[in-house]
Amino acid sequence: MTAKTSAPARRQRIPAALLIPALLGLAFLTLPLAGLLIRAPWSTMPQRLAEPEVLDALRLSLVTATASTGLCLLFGIPIAWLLARVEFRGRSLVRALVTVPLVLPPVVGGVALLLVFGRGGLVGAWLDEAFGITLPFSTAGVVLAMTFVAMPFLVVSVEGALRGADIRYEEAAATLGAGRWTVFTRVTLPLVAPGIAAGAVLCWARALGEFGATITFAGNFPGRTQTMPLAVYLALETDLEAAIVLSLILLAASVTVLACLRERWTATP
């Protein structure tokens, strides 16, 4: 018996009630991309790519989105575990709170972050006084803003995976002598790895496209806090074509990264 069972060559009848909305939905999702591709000034593309500002913004975007995904994993997985596995008072309230950044307009999220981590904010004032750390207008601030908006995606998908995972595997591990931490690292995490991966991808993608919270919390300074979406927004003020080019570069970079990761996951099952 092998894992991959070849799909039967049987032709399936697809109900029109599913097929038609699916095709319409796909068109709706892909047509805007087509719009960008059609309007793109392909001839000047290589020139734009060589501009140091563009490369700076792209590099900054990739680095900060990746760092914030790391933070989301570090804090989000334990949150998801708590929500999925520990019965406690107010759990549904905590679950609702976790999704707050999803419904909060990102700009408002940025303002909220400023009120806490800003110069005069609760935590920010203390960080500044005790360690001389100021987060607003810094690259760390970009990562913080991204983490704030992206974390819910990770928590929600990992919690779903944990709920779907068979808890009896963990019991089996316990009977074999594994303590709770070992069970978590050796059994639980590998079992929900696909859910974590899916969550991390969503998280990364959301962080990469982050605009509102970043501009509000971290401002816009080339090379330090100007990520691609900010660069796109500013380019839009003066030059629509430049904005399109930047958008496509961001898009191409993210698709490439995700495709490479997918390749790696499927290569080692």
């Binding site: 303002v111 800003g118 300074f221 839009l236 003020e237």
Partner: protein
């Protein structure tokens, strides 16, 4: 895309179309105006409605660049009032308007918290490395003006951020994250008591002209012309200056 927008315009401007041939100023008037005009134009719009019974003025306030591109995509506007000649020029170049006229001017000031805790009196004070300054990005009008003024003053400064618009720069100041910001005089007026505007002589070199024009595809051309003329009356100018603008 154009056809769809025109259809849209036709629907929105039905009453206007009906009265297009009349001399009577009546019906809807859609004005696309720069965000910095929000307070002044809202008041002027009311005065205009009072002076012209039967006219209803609808404003769409946004960044001048966004408005210009919306007009280029066929948005059903009658009048465009821009915060920068460049955006108006692009509309004129695309053939949507002709002969814009400057109706107001705005100049830069250094916005500081009320009471001026850092004792800022001029541009040179902003070069203090201990000071956090917000500028607008050079892609937007207030940023371009700031660059001109700083160059004229020979001041080199590194801001902590290049904000995407003047309101964002001002809100950073309001939140206490920066110590000073270069913004328009009108914006410090609109911000009320919490913000004080420090005037500086170099702002003369970066005065911002506000052009206005009736659009060629205006659904209601007669009222559009009337509104543009009204903006240039002393009555309207009084309102504009009360909000920090200067006469052209």
């Amino acid at each position: 895309m154009r056809a769809a927008a025109l259809a849209c315009a036709a629907v929105l401007g039905l009453t206007a179309c009906g009265s297009a041939g009349d001399d009577d100023a009546s019906g809807h008037l859609t004005v696309f105006a720069a965000a910095s005009l929000t307070e002044a134009f809202t008041q002027i719009g009311e005065d205009f409605e009072d002076a012209n019974p039967g006219v209803e003025v609808v404003f769409s306030f946004a960044g001048s660049a966004s408005l210009a591109s919306q007009i280029a995509q066929g948005a059903p506007a009658d009048v465009f009032a821009s915060a920068a000649p460049a955006n108006m020029d692009s509309v004129v170049r695309s053939g949507y308007a002709a002969d814009p006229e400057t109706f107001a001017r705005n100049r830069l000031v250094i916005a500081v918290p009320e009471g001026d805790p850092d004792g800022i009196t001029g541009l040179a004070d902003l070069a203090d490395p201990g000071l956090k300054v917000a500028l607008c990005a050079e892609e937007v009008p207030c940023g371009a003006a700031a660059r001109t003024a700083l160059d004229a003053a020979g001041v080199r400064l590194t801001p902590v951020t290049y904000e995407t618009d003047v309101k964002a720069a001002l809100s950073k100041l309001g939140l206490g994250e920066v110590d000073a910001a270069l913004v328009y005089r009108t914006d410090t007026e609109a911000a009320g008591g919490a913000v004080h505007g420090v005037e500086f002589p170099e702002s003369d070199s970066a005065i911002n002209d506000y052009p206005i024009a009736a659009l060629d595809d205006a659904p209601n051309p007669a009222v559009a012309e009337a509104f543009v003329d009204y903006i240039r009356t002393d009555e309207a100018l009084e309102v504009l200056t009360a909000h920090g603008f200067q006469a052209p």
